[in-house]
């Protein structure tokens, strides 16, 4: 396992400690519950926004805590939803009379733990509500599944709600806003390599030297199909078409485009992918208002990328353009 790690059991806590040490003014750290939170939160006049999923997706979600983004995050172990109690303590810590918004990525573990925590918190009279994000078009909603997965599109829900919350939006406004963003954002990813959870020590799946996994999940879950490695342009074309046709987007749409690296792919390659995505947008008559090229939601050191399209309107354009400040400045 080629990793910078001490005792694998301490991978997450030591990472969180590092994030806290690197942001002494901005952030605070509660080791008992893996909580990274804003030093100046909660505040009575602002809805608190929290999230917590498995670790291994950095910068999501702990490095997305800061002004204009999340108020707190409580990750679980690598690729494992946080225990219910972490979620519950995170909600309690960020409790505000204006309310607490929990943004959940649609995985069964995340949902069950947060649902239990939200129930407990509500039972104690805390004004907390949750919203579930599911932007991944790779896995179709079917009786097989608990529905689509929440992946990189999550960033846009956080960014939009974070900006609106700073402006004083109510909890119900934010729920509507989250629903709106989630309904207009679509993502699909592709993996070139597997990845190795520190505690497991071996790759999470096998993949041949000339293979790629189309529609991979951010926990290394197999995707739509295994295929032979294709050219960068061919790969973008497949992701773009899947995403474009799913909403569907249409000529004239104003959009935000995200090329998200899965962790092991260098940014040079991400710009090669962006080049093709920009060409495709032009072809299809989409106007790119904002673009995001970098790492937003990763799978440890997996080589791969995802493409996200978000349909914009004036409200969303304003919110995306609003200032924000987090450990990794990726917006």
């Amino acid at each position: 396992m080629k990793k910078f790690v001490n005792d694998p059991a301490n991978f997450v806590p030591e990472m969180l400690e590092g994030v806290a040490l690197a942001n002494p003014e901005l952030l605070r750290y509660k080791p008992e519950y893996n909580i990274i939170y804003r030093a100046d939160r909660p505040r009575d006049d602002k809805v608190s926004i929290v999230q917590g999923s498995g670790s291994g997706h950095e910068p999501a979600h702990i490095m997305a805590v800061g002004p204009g983004m999340l108020d707190a995050a409580s990750p679980g172990n690598v690729f494992s939803a946080p225990p219910m109690e972490f979620c519950y303590e995170c909600i309690k810590l960020m409790n505000s009379p204006k309310g607490v918004l929990v943004l959940i990525n649609n995985y069964q573990g995340d949902r069950m733990n947060w649902d239990m925590a939200v129930e407990m918190a509500q039972a104690e009279g805390i004004n907390v509500k949750s919203f579930v994000i599911d932007d991944d078009v790779a896995v179709q909603d079917s009786t097989h599944t608990v529905g689509r997965r929440g992946v990189a599109g999550n960033f846009f829900v956080i960014k939009a709600c974070g900006a609106a919350a700073e402006k004083g939006a109510s909890l119900d406004d934010l729920l509507k806003l989250a629903a709106k963003v989630n309904s207009q954002v679509r993502t699909m990813g592709i993996a070139l390599t597997s990845c190795t959870p520190p505690a497991k020590g071996t790759p999470i799946f096998e993949i041949g030297p000339d293979e790629m996994e189309v529609g991979v999940g951010i926990h290394g879950e197999p995707g739509r199909r295994r295929d032979k490695l294709k050219s960068a342009d061919a790969i973008v074309d497949e992701l773009f078409d899947a995403v474009y046709n799913d909403l569907p987007f249409k000529s004239g749409d104003r959009v935000a485009v995200m090329i998200n690296g899965l962790g092991g792919t260098p940014i040079s390659e991400l710009y090669i992918l962006y080049r093709r995505a920009a060409q495709r947008c032009k072809e299809k008559g989409l106007t790119i208002v904002r673009n995001y090229v970098g790492e937003y939601c990763t799978s440890l050191e997996m080589a791969g990328a995802s493409l996200t399209l978000l349909r914009l309107d004036n409200e969303l354009e304003e919110l995306l353009a609003a200032p924000a400040e987090i450990a990794v400045r990726v917006f």
């Binding site: 109690e85 069950m112 599944t145 999940g217 926990h219 879950e221 197999p222």
Partner: protein, 219 residues
């Protein structure tokens, strides 16, 4: 059949914890076939604390004891397993709140309550290829012995372990419809469900722990 005492329950939990810790890597590998390879780690992170806090656990009743187990698990286990196992133990605890020994009939009711709790929590039903497909046959098998005073505890346990073991192969070619595995759709066909393997392994290990020769070993 003679009643099941708190001591019996303690020994069972201890054996279950041993199984979870011994198989941490193995259970995660099973989960990597179609899932996300964290099942073993998740389970172990809970039962490790059970072992650590073992001496301080409330032993005023079987229910009090199981409630503590439930709390430790929901507190420390992430993924699907925390809510599922935590809910299961919590429901079982509710039916044995003030008892220091239980009958086979009560054990069967506790198991049923646990199964229903898990179904409510995660929305899974029999056939979704989850640990329910091991727990339900086990509960049914135990039910067969309820009321038979001649029932030999060892035999009941052996038979329960046997049906759980059978569930591994019986469900292997099913499609997982819950948890991370479910995202892989057809891909889950052919690989055993980690949760089912865990339940079977725990029961077979428990047989050995109490000196009962299991019918067969869990794969």
């Amino acid at each position: 059949m003679k009643e099941i005492t708190l001591a019996d329950v303690e020994r069972a939990i201890q054996s279950i914890a041993d199984t979870a810790l011994r198989n941490e890597k193995y259970f995660s590998e099973l989960d990597s076939a179609a899932g996300d390879a964290d099942f073993g780690v998740s389970l172990a992170s809970g039962f490790r604390v059970v072992q650590k806090d073992w001496d301080q656990l409330d032993r005023s009743s079987i229910g009090a004891f199981l409630l503590k187990i439930s709390m430790i698990i929901s507190r420390n286990v992430g993924g699907c397993s925390g809510p599922i196992w935590g809910t299961g133990f919590m429901r079982a605890a509710a039916l044995s709140r003030d008892k220091t020994s239980i009958t086979l009939d009560e054990l069967e009711k506790m198991l049923t309550a646990a199964i229903e709790g898990i179904q409510q929590r995660g929305g899974a039903v029999a056939g979704d290829k989850t640990l329910l497909d091991a727990l339900i046959p086990v509960r049914d098998k135990i039910k067969e012995y309820v009321g038979r005073d001649d029932a030999d505890p060892g035999e009941v346990l052996r038979e329960a372990a046997a049906v759980a073991t059978d569930a591994i192969e019986r469900t292997r070619d099913w499609v997982a419809k819950r948890g991370r595995q479910s995202f892989t759709g057809e891909r889950s066909i052919g690989s055993p469900d980690p949760g089912i393997v865990a339940v079977a392994t725990m029961l077979n290990d428990l047989c050995k722990a109490v000196g009962v020769e299991p019918v067969s070993k869990a794969s």
